[in-house]
């Protein structure tokens, strides 16, 4: 399966899914006007990957600056697919990155952790500005 790579824009995140390494990353901003249009191909790719994955270690890094509430629903959908992937015998870890003082972003990650049966790791990132 080929990697999925989507370059970032002001409103959409970098998507970098490398299936052979089990390393997936979504980072940057996510506030497209139409989240369905942006996330549908991402979900389709992930579903295909999970249908094939066997005994694989998978790490998904979320490293957002901003995301809107419609993207929030798709983030949950991505996590649900990963949860199914784990039920099929794969080992999945979600790493949720946030700036130290950004309690809203931290709480958003905690809400996901509470809504889904996946291992979460919270990573505090340095403010580079």
């Amino acid at each position: 399966m080929n990697p999925l790579r989507i370059a970032p824009t002001d409103e959409t995140p970098t998507v970098n899914f490398i299936p052979d390494e089990g390393k997936f990353e979504i980072s940057g901003n996510s506030y497209p006007e139409n989240s369905t249009k942006f996330y549908s191909p991402v979900l389709d790719w992930l579903r295909r990957f999970c249908a094939e994955a066997k005994n694989q270690k998978i790490t998904l890094d979320f490293n957002f600056d901003y995301f809107n509430t419609s993207s929030a629903k798709y983030i949950l959908e991505i996590l649900r697919i990963l949860q199914d992937c784990q039920k099929n015998g794969n080992e999945c870890l979600v790493r949720w990155h946030y700036l130290e003082e950004d309690t809203d972003m931290q709480e958003a990650g905690e809400d996901y952790r509470d809504s889904i049966d996946l291992n979460f790791e919270f990573v505090v990132r340095e403010d580079t500005l």
């Binding site: 002001d10 139409n34 809107n68 700036l99 309690t103 809504s115 403010d127």
Partner: protein, 167 residues
């Protein structure tokens, strides 16, 4: 001093390119006021919801005459930042919206959190790509857990919906 200071106001057609300019301007203005990065980020996160609400709920082109353009403004006062938006809504939509806003305003912070989670996990996305969480996000970000709103008639069909909250 309790004077309100207008930081920014926009009136016109709303789109994501316009939103990006607004975010960039607000970032510059708040940084110049010495606000910490997380305050700037919180204000901009909510502005994204506000402006995208205006995009999703913009009516057909025939309503997009100058008097009906949506607007967004942000004031600074002693209590924090007050964000205000205006857009045209159809009469029948106004009734539903008013009932929904009254429901949100009656919720406690805990109830709002639970309702947010319920809405987040319901899997519903509108045809325009909205998640139905914008107003919930605004009220959760507000200092007093309240959204202030009014509806003023503009003609037989439409009302001007004004929404504001303090954060």
């Amino acid at each position: 001093m309790t004077d309100k200071q207008l930081l920014y106001a926009y009136n016109g057609e709303m789109s994501n390119p316009v939103l990006n300019k607004i975010l960039s301007t607000i970032q510059t203005k708040l940084s110049a006021l010495g606000e910490k990065r997380n305050v700037v980020k919180n204000v901009n996160t909510i502005l994204i919801e506000c402006c995208q609400n205006l995009i999703y709920h913009a009516k057909d082109k025939d309503t997009l005459k100058e008097d009906f353009f949506p607007s967004v403004s942000i004031y600074k006062d002693a209590g924090g930042y007050r964000i205000s938006t205006r857009n045209v809504v159809a009469g029948e939509d106004a009734q539903k919206l008013e009932a929904y806003l009254a429901k949100l305003n009656a919720f406690s912070p805990e109830e709002l959190k639970n309702f947010y989670k319920e809405r987040l996990t319901d899997g519903k996305i509108s045809a325009k790509g909205g998640g139905g969480l914008g107003l919930l996000n605004m009220i959760r970000a507000s200092k007093d857990g309240k959204l202030v709103y009014r509806f003023d008639p503009v003609n037989e069909q439409y009302l001007m919906f004004t929404l504001s909250f303090l954060m």
